[in-house]
Amino acid sequence: MTPPLEPRTRSRRIRTDALARVEGEGAMNVRVRDGEVLEVQLRIYEPPRFFEALLRGRSYTEVPDITARICGICPVAYQTSGCLAIEQACGTTVDGPIRELRRLMYCGEWIESHALHLYMLHAPDFLGYESAIHMAADHRELVERALATRKAGNQLLIAIGGRAEHPINPRTGGFYRAPTRDELAPLVEPLQRALEATLDTVALTATLTMPDFERDYEFVALRDDDGRYPIDRGRIVSSGGLDIPAEAFDDHFVEEQVAHSNALHSRFRDGGSYMVGPMARYSLAFDGLSPLARDAAREAGLGPTCRNPFQSIVVRAVELLYAIEEALRLIEAYEQPDPPAVALEPRDGVGCGVSEAPRGILWHRYEIDASGAIRDARIVPPTSQNQRAIEEDLRGFVAGHLDLSDDELQWQCEQAIRNYDPCISCATHFLKLDIERA
């Protein structure tokens, strides 16, 4: 029998197989030889590319309905960025109670999406379970908490969006109908319960064992014009000092083809990768959090920035807390907008819009003509912007953890990808580790 080689001298290949799914396809390859990471490739197939072509020739008013279909988890993000872009193209800014209602609906999406990822997809990684189903036997209360929190967000979407999936009430300029204060009132109690539960969850995430890994990311997030934590709109800012409006995105970022992926990779024009999503928002907009969320973050051991991607579960819990609290605040302050939408006049022009999807900034650009027909559409989703950062995380993590057993390395590579809550996170266990013994 040949004795196993030392980890540092053997070749390893960590590979994902293509996923047999309707809406997405992901795969990953990591090759290691003699302690050196030779290759890291993350391949993601991005449905939004089809939608860009589909939007051409359609009416500008159809943007929220068509783009809502891009994602079942974050339709509000697509609708919001799309509406902002169209409104800019029409020379209008939507403010006041309509904007606040948008932000409230967006909080519902954050709550749903973050609760799903944090409890059901990411927590099992840390607690050592194959899935949320396996976790439910020992941590029933945690899974119940996940479902109740998710439902509280869901009810917000139903009350404002008209239904939980692919909301039908948002339109360019605002909403078809604004809910009354009475219609929002029943949402308060479930949100209050979720707020209490989430305080415990933030504390719980602080007790999880974090793999030791940090990187010097360039964070990119929005900065809210009212100084609040960025959700529904804002200027694009970075930890490197960038501060630009949505329409300047193309001057600073570029998307490019890479041989191993169907999805475009984003990077800074001057070459570097960047990170979008909870850690970027948290690190760039800590001061925009509520006092409660800031205190919870501090008690959980977070500083005003966070550079360990595995700690994103703690950051996501803090953001979940904030989104619930913000939803309660917005309901309390709610004024029913009348009329529920601003009238838009189409004109020849270009508009850009950007908002903070749960996974990071989502940028849209539309060119429309005076009849309102869309001449060109571009959508840059957060997961494609994070692809390089994910690959670099994997490269750095694997290089620094070759002493781990194959099983542990596989587990933590999966975890490293799920740190980003990528749209391919549907595949709870999609990595296969092949060990080639030289």
Binding site: R21, F50, L116
Partner: protein, 158 residues
């Protein structure tokens, strides 16, 4: 809304994506069933995250879920599974577009004692899932067959 059907004895849930070819099959079965005036069951179209199914079938004693599946069978094949006491076959797991699929939602419900006493899944084998594609003719026929079988299962006359 969950509370509206929480008293229901039976709930039929058609799962799918309207704009993804054969993936619409479950939704179409649900819509046709709803058009039948004599249907006593609560009928739902489900395009959302399947995690919400745990709410949708809460308090029902019979849940019938209809979904498009990819199991390797001939397109248009209708398979019936009784998931009341055992999980769906492994070949049906992980084919969802989102984080939790129907199979996972069923197992999660089982772990939390939230699974209806009888949980039946009808799987319609699909073949084409392109955006905007029409239904495969074999799937059209399978929708009719499934509708007949679901009606029989509910014990009501069309």
């Amino acid at each position: 809304m969950p509370n509206a059907f929480s008293r229901a004895g039976a709930v039929v849930i058609g799962v799918g994506n309207e704009f993804r070819g054969d993936d619409a099959a479950g939704l179409i079965v649900a819509r046709r069933l709803r058009e039948q005036a004599s249907t006593q069951a609560v009928v739902l179209d489900w395009e959302a995250d399947p995690a919400g199914l745990l709410e949708a079938w809460m308090d029902a004693n019979l849940a019938i879920v209809v979904d498009t599946v990819v199991s390797g069978a001939e397109p248009g094949t209708v398979q019936r599974f009784d998931a009341s006491t055992v999980p769906l076959p492994a070949r049906l797991a992980g084919s969802s577009t989102h984080a939790l699929g129907v199979a996972e939602a069923i197992e999660l419900a089982r772990a939390l004692d939230r699974l209806p006493g009888r949980t039946i899944v009808y799987g319609i084998e699909g073949s084409s899932f392109s955006a905007g594609a029409a239904l495969d003719p074999t799937v059209e026929r399978a929708i009719d067959e499934t509708l007949t079988r679901v009606v029989a299962e509910l014990g009501v006359r069309p």
